[in-house]
């Protein structure tokens, strides 16, 4: 059955242009993951530049809202990294993360966001190689999926001024 004549098509946006690059936001905890990423850099490990890294003190600080905001603002992919369970600098910070992220994943799925776009991994300060491989893999997966362009989708569906970001100082 074709789209009802009674409404606009579900996704009326044109396909991605040839110069499109995946834009991925990465939330990394200072003590483990960010240090690990830093180590990858110092060791000159090569990985794609598509991840914009935001450093937080602990992965437990990563409110699931940060992830949905990133997608809502135009990220094509989101990465969350923290210390391994048992290694959290604040002892129990990542215990929150280990429950929040799986629950969030279910919501993202319900919203139609392909599961490959969101990655949650534990990366220790010594795992620079793991980090660089992770970024390469994620970037490639997102590249294959194409742009998400959530703001464009909402605009096309008639949402007036985009998202409510008052809580974040907008």
């Amino acid at each position: 059955m074709s789209e009802p004549a009674n409404t606009a098509p579900a996704d009326p946006r044109p396909a991605a242009g040839p110069n499109w690059q995946p834009r991925i936001i990465g939330f990394l905890c200072y003590w483990c993951s960010y240090t690990g990423a830093d180590m990858a850099g110092t060791a000159r490990m090569k990985y794609p530049p598509n991840v914009d890294i935001i450093r937080v003190m602990c992965s437990g600080r990563i409110d699931p809202e940060l992830v949905t905001t990133a997608f809502a603002r135009g990220a094509d992919g989101v990465l969350v990294c923290g210390c391994h369970i048992g290694d959290c600098h604040y002892i129990t910070g990542n215990h929150k993360t280990m429950a929040r992220m799986p629950l969030l994943k279910r919501i993202l799925l319900d919203m139609g966001i392909e599961p490959e776009r969101f990655r949650h991994e534990w990366v220790s300060a010594a795992e620079g190689e793991k980090f660089s491989k992770l970024v390469a893999e994620l970037t490639e997966q997102v590249r294959r999926l194409g742009p998400l362009d959530w703001p464009g989708l909402m605009r096309a569906r008639g949402v007036g001024h985009g998202m409510d970001l008052k809580a974040w100082g907008e």
Binding site: M1, E3, P4, A5, N6, T7, A8, A10, D11, D63, P64, E65, V67, T68, T69, F71, A72, I85, H95, K96, M98, A99, R100, P102, L103, L104, R106, I107, D110, M111, G112, I113, L148, W150, L153, M154, R157, G158, V159, G160, H161, M163, D164, L165, K166, A167
Partner: protein, 329 residues
């Protein structure tokens, strides 16, 4: 336009209007629930547009001067073209436009449709349905030619929008429906000039803190050991339902209702939307509930999470259109 049987000098009464978009009528009923205060209301106000209860037409509203209506309560979400059209009309004609009730403020329950596609909705309603007899696959159309002329019905929108998605809104009264005591307080404040008629998305007729603040159930500060469903177990009376494992969305929900549902033995379903400055109720609840689990390993956490049957529908039941993502792709 006040009733003036003695031909005395006219007293300027407030002009109020109430419109319903994609709504259920509960908000209109809730306004009536101010009970004896109705008599006070009609002393200070005249209704100039209220399709469900009074007999003014769209044409009357079009003929009013701009800003003629003092207080306009708009309830219901914006699901079709007519509802948006009327929102824009009422915005022009009103000094103060108030989003009344969850549907207008955050999308409400109709916004759960944002988890489905329009095609899916039409399919379930008009095609794939046990009692449907529709071999020709007929669907409602914005325009249908007839022997005598075109028949029109509004265009169904791709997703439910909130009032503030299409027009600037002065005040917001959350709740499904808003509790009448709070509503009356808000009306008095507006009528009495204690707050300006013009503002921007200011929440009224509610409190700032979470429902837990109003809830009388005992909080024992224990972690959740398992999740339960209301029909397969009996809660211990007097003890916090969430701590017992019932999916009470109270921590992520604005108070002002009096925590009526937990008092009746049922978990809060979140009908006042997010508390404080929170914008996205669902992620707030994810954050809260994940912090309460009795889990020390990822496996334990996953086991508990797997017991939550429907996080999206439970945490966003009344606020999907206000979430950051708003609708499924």
């Amino acid at each position: 336009m006040s009733t003036n049987p003695n031909n005395a000098a006219p007293v300027a009464k407030l002009k109020i209007a109430k419109y319903w978009a994609a709504s259920c009528g509960g908000c209109d009923i809730s306004l009536l629930e101010i009970g004896p205060n109705l008599l006070e209301l009609i002393k200070i106000a005249d209704v100039v547009f209220w399709p469900c209860a009074a007999d003014f037409k769209y044409e009357d509203v079009r003929n009013y001067p701009d800003g003629y209506i003092d207080l306009c309560f708009y309830n219901g979400g914006i699901r079709n073209s007519e509802q948006e059209e009327v929102a824009r009309l009422l915005r022009r004609k009103s000094k103060s436009l108030i989003a009344y009730g969850q549907c207008a403020v955050d999308g409400g329950i109709p916004a759960l449709a944002n988890l489905k596609t329009v095609k899916g909705i039409f399919n379930a309603s008009y095609h794939d349905n046990p009692s449907i007899d529709n071999p020709a696959g007929v669907e409602p159309q914005p325009v249908t030619p007839s022997e005598y002329g075109d028949l029109e019905i509004p265009r169904f929108y791709p997703q439910v929008l909130r009032l503030k998605d299409v027009v600037p809104v002065d005040y917001e009264i959350p709740g499904c429906p808003p509790q009448s005591d709070r509503v009356w307080e808000a009306i008095l404040a507006l009528a009495g000039g204690q707050v300006p008629l013009q503002n921007r998305n200011v929440k009224v007729a509610c409190y700032d803190k979470a429902v837990c603040d109003e809830c009388k159930l005992e909080k024992r500060n224990v972690r959740i050991k398992e999740f339960k469903r209301v029909h397969t177990s009996i809660p211990e009376p007097g003890w916090c339902l969430l701590e017992q494992g019932y999916l009470c969305v109270g921590p992520a929900t604005r108070s002002g209702c009096g925590a009526l549902c937990p008092a009746a033995g049922m978990p809060c379903e979140g009908c006042y939307g997010p508390a404080g400055d929170v914008v996205d109720q669902g992620t707030a609840m994810v954050s809260a509930i994940a912090s309460m689990l009795d889990a020390r390993t990822e496996e334990q956490a996953q086991e508990l999470i797997d017991q939550i049957a429907d996080p999206t529908g439970t945490f966003y039941r009344f606020t999907l259109a206000s979430s950051h993502l708003k609708a499924r792709k």
